[in-house]
Amino acid sequence: MIGARRLFFMFLSPLGERLGEGVRRPLTLPLPLAGERSLKALCCVLLLLFTLPALAVEPSEILPDPALETRAREIGRALRCVVCQNQSIDDSSAEVARDMRRAVRERLTAGDSDGDVFAYMVARYGDYVLLKPPFKAGTLILWLGAPFLLLVAGAALLLAARRRRHTPIAAPKPLDEEERRRLDALLKG
């Protein structure tokens, strides 16, 4: 909800200013005092605040059991649409994505666990269908590459810092005769 604060200032602050007949005061509750117009505006803002990303899940697909439907949504968000490859099947309106959503619901209704449903999809579409790749030999670099680099960089920094601390700072050479004369001349101005 990054937008919430911004929306508030965009829509509500000007309204609040208009309210008090020249008096600048922020919009205050209770609402009935704020006038019908701003009430409408507030409703609009609230509606905007509570909008959700449009899902491709169609009403006819939704399971009557809310608990199962919730699980279906969680699974659907983790499965990749094989047509629109960076969308989950819940976000995609591709034909195949719809079939996959329906299959997820069928499996859940038949009593499968979440893991069974994922296995069912992987058996047909491979690991590719998982938006979160599994941890195995082929994906080691993917999972461990970044932490490993971070460790290496941290170790390098630490080493460099330690070396710097242990290098004694040499005392400056004392001025020689010539330099001292120049300094005196400068100081005298």
Binding site: V82, V83, Q85, A94, E95, V96, D99, M100, A103, V122, A123, R124, Y125, G126, Y128
Partner: protein, 179 residues
Amino acid sequence: MRRLLFILPLLTLALMAGFFAWSLTSGRDPASIGSVVVGRPAPKLDLPALRPGEPPLTDADLRTGKPVIVNFFASWCTPCLAEHPLFTRLREREGATIVGIAWKNKRDDALPWLKRLGDPFKLAGLDLDGKTGLDWGLSGVPETYLIDGTGIVRRHYRGPITERDLNETILPFLKGAVK
């Protein structure tokens, strides 16, 4: 040590250039989603026939001892139109056994389409709700599978087959040269 630090950017550049060169020349397709059915027994086939009066399609139709080509198509699919003449040619010139499956396509749409373009399918099934497609790991139409005489899937083409696929794999496959 210090000298090594100076070489490091160059080394990184060389590494990246190498990767890009490999990506460009190896023919690797990063958008390919692969296929898990290749090398495995063909997925379940249990579909009503597309053409009226024919018996339903079953697993036995894919285990006849002879190579079989399975093609998912739809009358609403333009690339299917493009690859269709190749199947006609395979049927007429090579005598290939081709199983066509109309995917999410009404019988009343698929049959006239085949009538208009010619029907190269020895057997034709109807997968109206896409369930068989899902079992086959289908991502859309057209997709084509090469299945050997023992019922093992040997190739899976996503998208229309081309003249090149025909010459490089499908024809050798039909002659038993592709494993």
